[in-house]
């Protein structure tokens, strides 16, 4: 009998599930676009103002839409018992969680990266700013997924975990927001923004190394 790598099958299963629930994939993305649409309406359409607040607006909207979509990360699997099955499965739970978070990132942040050129146009970003923005998004959003997954795993057993999730995660995301927007601001002034990217990259490396263990531990706590 051909042996199947359990990790591949987890990834395949989650990808299929995500693909079949298209509306759930699209909703956070639409939310992201709509929040960004609100800002020119709220603060006025002056191109210079928009260019100034643009990077921050995009990052804040990304964090908000991440919080919105994050809640679903383990919810269904928790309710139908798949997570318990995974704990019994012949694969380390940390790897399994890493795979799940990876698929979640593909489903929720990859579309956001793809749609960001449009938003750069909306907010009148220069090409240099846009290039910096997409780099910070590419490095920073996996960090959002990984750290967020810890709090999601902790709150998955609670009835109303949604608001609590935001309370827990927003403070933790603030440093990332600061570095990401300061990178784009440096790009706008034509300065070198490699240091900020390096710091975000370092945080990402650290998160990749540590968070899968924290997530799997949190899942075990939730199945107490």
């Amino acid at each position: 009998m051909k042996s199947v790598n359990p990790l591949t099958s987890i990834i395949k299963r989650d990808l299929v599930l995500a693909y079949r629930q298209k509306s759930e994939l699209l909703q956070p993305l639409l939310f992201f676009v709509m929040v960004i649409t609100l800002f020119p309406l709220g603060i006025g359409p002056g191109p210079e103002t928009l260019q100034k607040v643009g990077p921050g607006v995009i990052w804040v909207a990304a964090i908000l839409s991440a919080l919105l979509g994050m809640d679903k990360l383990f919810r269904d699997d928790f309710n139908d018992g798949s997570l318990e099955q995974l704990q019994l499965a012949h694969v380390s739970l940390s790897w399994a969680m890493f795979a799940k978070v990876f698929v979640h990132w593909c489903g929720s942040f990859l579309p956001l990266l793809l749609i960001s050129p449009l938003l750069a146009l909306f907010l009148n970003l220069t090409p240099a700013m846009y290039w910096a923005l997409i780099q910070t998004l590419a490095l920073g959003t996996p960090l959002l997924s990984l750290i967020g997954a810890i709090a999601v795993a902790l709150t998955v057993g609670l009835q109303r975990g949604g608001v609590l999730l935001s309370l827990l995660l927003i403070p933790v995301f603030i440093p990332l927001l600061i570095f990401a927007t300061s990178a784009v601001d440096s790009a706008a002034m034509g300065l070198n923004y490699a240091p900020q990217l390096a710091i975000i990259g370092a945080m990402l490396c650290f998160a990749v190394a540590i968070t899968p263990f924290a997530i799997s531990y949190a899942i075990r706590v939730s199945h107490h």
């Binding site: 902790l154 975990g161 309370l167 403070p171 933790v172 603030i174 531990y217 949190a218 706590v221 107490h224």
Partner: protein
């Protein structure tokens, strides 16, 4: 290695330890705060630039310094709980959390009151102030997460994980002054070597800090005793204790 610590995993021993330590903390708090505040507020010389309004450092600096150490203490208690599975560790963690949150709030409040005459504004988005505000949010997050669970062991584990995640924030708070060089003045007494504060101002400050440590210890011990009694309400030793107090 931790053999001497193991007995305190039992709630009864931990309760007794609280009772032993409480008077020391209490005396330190009363003496330190009284001496430090009276000396600092009434007798220390006023600053040549800031006049008398600098005197708020005798409240601001102890609470600001200790709010961070208190968070670390809370996270260590959570870590101990996660590693050795002690419920007394979780209880101490959650006994520390509200005290730390209030300290952080005091440091923010006194900082704002100090900022108004000195910087001309109540609030500025300076790195240190922001980091302190994040610290406050982190405390609230830990407390909210703990409160959300009805099973308190699970609550303790979850809050401990979140406290450890938040510890990442502590170095950011610490180094933010160097990373973003902004309005907030640099460290006065924590740097090595000669402090950039006159001894006549430094001594009352150090005594206030010691007093504040005593106050935190007192509050945490009282809170922890409360936690233990509430959680162990049906244990024989608690019932015996309660009967003894009633008969008195």
């Amino acid at each position: 290695m931790f053999n001497w610590l193991h007995p305190y995993a039992k709630t009864e021993r931990a309760y007794a330890l609280c009772n032993t330590l409480l008077p020391y903390f209490f005396v330190t708090a009363v003496v330190g705060l009284l001496v430090g505040f009276i000396w600092g507020l009434a007798f220390a010389p006023s600053d040549y630039q800031q006049g008398d309004s600098f005197r708020i450092i005798y409240i601001h600096v102890p609470s600001a310094i200790l709010s961070m150490s208190t968070y670390v203490a809370m996270a260590i208690a959570g870590f101990v709980g996660l590693v050795w599975q002690w419920k007394t560790a979780y209880m101490s963690m959650i006994a520390i959390a509200p005290v730390g949150a209030i300290l952080t709030f005091i440091s923010l409040f006194t900082g704002a009151a100090w900022g108004k005459p000195m910087w001309g504004t109540w609030w500025i988005w300076d790195a240190r102030l922001t980091a302190q505000l994040i610290l406050f949010f982190l405390y609230l997050g830990v407390l909210a997460l703990y409160g959300a669970f009805s099973d308190k062991t699970q609550a303790g584990k979850s809050a401990a994980i979140m406290a450890l995640v938040g510890v990442i924030n502590i170095p950011i708070i610490h180094y933010s002054v160097e990373w973003w060089n902004t309005l907030h003045q640099g460290a006065t007494i924590t740097k090595f070597g000669k402090p950039s504060i006159a001894p006549s101002m430094l001594w009352p400050l150090l005594i206030s800090i010691a007093g504040m440590v005593g106050l935190i210890g007192t509050l945490v011990m009282m809170n922890l005793k409360n936690q233990i009694l509430r959680r162990e309400l049906h244990r024989p030793w608690v019932i015996a204790l309660l009967q003894k107090t009633e008969n008195r």
